[in-house]
Amino acid sequence: MSYADDVVRIAPWKDDRQFAYSITYDEGLIETLGFAWRIHRRFGIPGHVNVFPGMLGELVGDTSAGFLQSLWNLQKYADSDHLQFLVSEGWTIGCQFHLDDRDRPAGSLLQARLSLEKAIAHPVRTLAFADFKSCDASQGAARDAGFRWLFTLYDGLNAADEATDVVRRSPLFHEGPTPIRLANDPYRLLALARDRRGWVVDVVRLVDRYPVDAARDCTPAELETRFRAVHKIGEDRVWAASPEIVADYRYLRLSTHIRDYVSAPHQIRYTLAVTPAEDRAPQGQLTFVAHLDTTWRSPQATVAGDTVPLRPSPEPGTWVFAHRVVDGLEAKIEDGSRRSA
């Protein structure tokens, strides 16, 4: 870590929150969304739903797959109106990888993405896999089809410093698969994420009072309990956001570095270097944390000539501010009280 990192650093997560939490819904079953969105709204947690682009608004109609599948046939997939409503609620929408796509070329996935974009009139950037093996096998095709983020099934944390486009998702279920029968754990990974400044992404399929597949579905009460646990562990230190937004932030942060750091009495200057790891220019806003001399009474930040507000952090001498990030952008922090004197 350089001296500059000691004084000004980029926060691992937005607003310098301790950890991040996201939740995704696979398949976009309308019953799921009917129960879930109100709970999301109440807890202020935006969701993300993955859908089969060719099945919007249709009944789940595969009658060839036995008893369990026939229970799913009572369900219906969300249509484009439902999805646009969710977008208006701050949700994001992605494509669901269909097992039939395993052997398809990237062109098929591209077609799926474009079809969904047309249906919801919104960019589609994520592809979700219901199992880790499909994700491992089809990552290349998914990238070729223009998917920016790939969601897999992996019950573990995502790290803030992980430069990857594959996002791990932890199943939130009523009761895990046999024979060990993992039970629903409303606190799963949350305290660990807090300790390690990580990112938890849940995945659930059906939210209904009577889960069809206990290992993939949960009840509305279990979803509520999960969100309560997120707030209980996180308090005001959790960043609950759509996984697309969190993944964008992480990528932008890992692509951005502070260079040409200059320190003078009562003034600090630095320049940003944005060097994307891949051929995709990141853009957006990052949160910065400045550890300043406690004698600074009125720190002010100026970025590319514009004043940026700083807010004090609970830690003495620590200030948090956010601004857009562009390669070569110059920033300055100075003690306003000294300047006016």
Partner: protein, 341 residues
């Protein structure tokens, strides 16, 4: 002024126990030092027919490679505060030779350790339970443990107690039967839930060694250390770390106890603790009572049981007093509390 029998001994908020199925001798090197470091007693779940022997169960992961603790080693660990549970005679299906697996195994173990064995842990998958269930209580067991990942409540069915897995798994599944998807162990598993609800966590693991054989059911010393560290940090003095026999004893004693004839005067409270039927197998009949005094005591109150100062004061703060003593199942006991206000 109120007098209440405490949910858990010493008035603590929740309970933590850990059990080691099979009771391998390596625990002495790799687990015992961590138990001593954190002050957590362990519980050994023994296959009675193979004490001190190299494991001889061809279907087992540990066949011919791990040795079970010997009777002398078990007695040494009991001196450390550990306890022993029954895991059948052969680790076989209980319904094949129920008398041997349940009744004779208990006798063999009791002979080996020189004391009663009160708890039984189902070997293999829990499916072997149902038809043999009626014999467990007849054989004199006080409690039966499953492995279904749930938190036990504060007043559980003692013949359907749950245990939660403590394991290593990090990364892709190594045993598809037990690992439906990649997952990591969460050392906070169920701790916040237990604190919130006043429950009882019982962990289950097998071998503890730096390079475990079975990642889905063994632990490393590091994982065990992390688990106990999380226990102590979340508990923060509110956790009762106890071996499961003692917890079962407390539950049975508490269920048989009632507070009667409460009398309060200035600087003096007395009540009678009546005890109903307690199974003879219960080894420890300690009971904890919490008293909220009507006035703030300026000095530590004195507690006497049948005229003798035999109670241990657990907590005293202002007007709240918690104390524990050995209850006598055959007689009512008069408790008197005196303090200067």
């Amino acid at each position: 002024m109120s007098v209440e029998i405490c949910r858990w001994k010493h008035g603590l908020a929740f309970v933590y126990s850990i059990t080691y199925d099979e009771g391998f001798a390596d625990l002495i090197d790799h687990a015992l030092p961590i138990h001593q470091k954190y002050g957590v007693p362990g519980h050994l779940v023994m296959v009675a027919g193979q004490l001190g022997q190299l494991r001889n169960i061809p279907s087992s992961t540990y066949h011919n490679v791990r040795r079970h603790l010997s009777p002398q080693q078990l007695r040494d660990l009991i001196q450390e505060g550990w306890s022993v549970g029954d895991h059948s005679m052969t680790h076989g299906d209980l319904n094949v030779d129920t008398h041997t697996e349940i009744v004779l195994s208990k006798e063999v173990l009791e002979e080996a350790i020189g004391q009663r064995v009160n708890v039984f842990h189902l070997p293999g998958a829990d499916f072997s339970f149902a038809p043999a269930a009626r014999y467990l209580e007849e054989a004199g067991f006080l409690a039966v443990f499953f492995a279904d990942d749930r938190l036990n409540g504060h007043d559980p069915d003692l013949f359907a107690l749950s245990r939660t897995l403590l394991y290593v798994i990090e990364g892709e599944p190594t045993c598809p039967l037990y690992d439906p998807f990649p997952r990591v162990y969460d050392p906070y598993h169920r701790l916040h839930e237990a604190l919130e609800t006043g429950g009882w966590i019982v962990d289950i693991t097998h071998a503890v060694e730096p390079e475990p054989l079975a990642l889905w059911k063994d632990a490393t010393p590091d994982i065990l250390d992390a688990r106990f560290d999380c226990l102590r940090r979340v508990g923060d003095g509110r956790e009762w770390a106890a071996e499961p026999e003692e917890v079962v004893d407390y539950i049975l004693t508490r269920r048989a106890a009632s507070v009667e004839d409460v009398q309060a005067e200035a600087a003096h409270v007395s009540f009678r603790l009546a005890l109903g039927s307690i199974p003879r197998a219960v080894k420890c009949r300690e009971i904890s009572v919490s008293v909220r005094l009507s006035t703030v005591a300026s000095c530590l109150p004195t507690v006497s049981v049948n005229g003798q100062a035999s109670a241990e004061i657990d907590h005293f703060l202002g007007n709240e007093l918690t104390f524990t003593w050995q209850a006598d199942a055959d007689h009512s006991q008069w408790i008197e509390i005196d303090w200067r206000s």
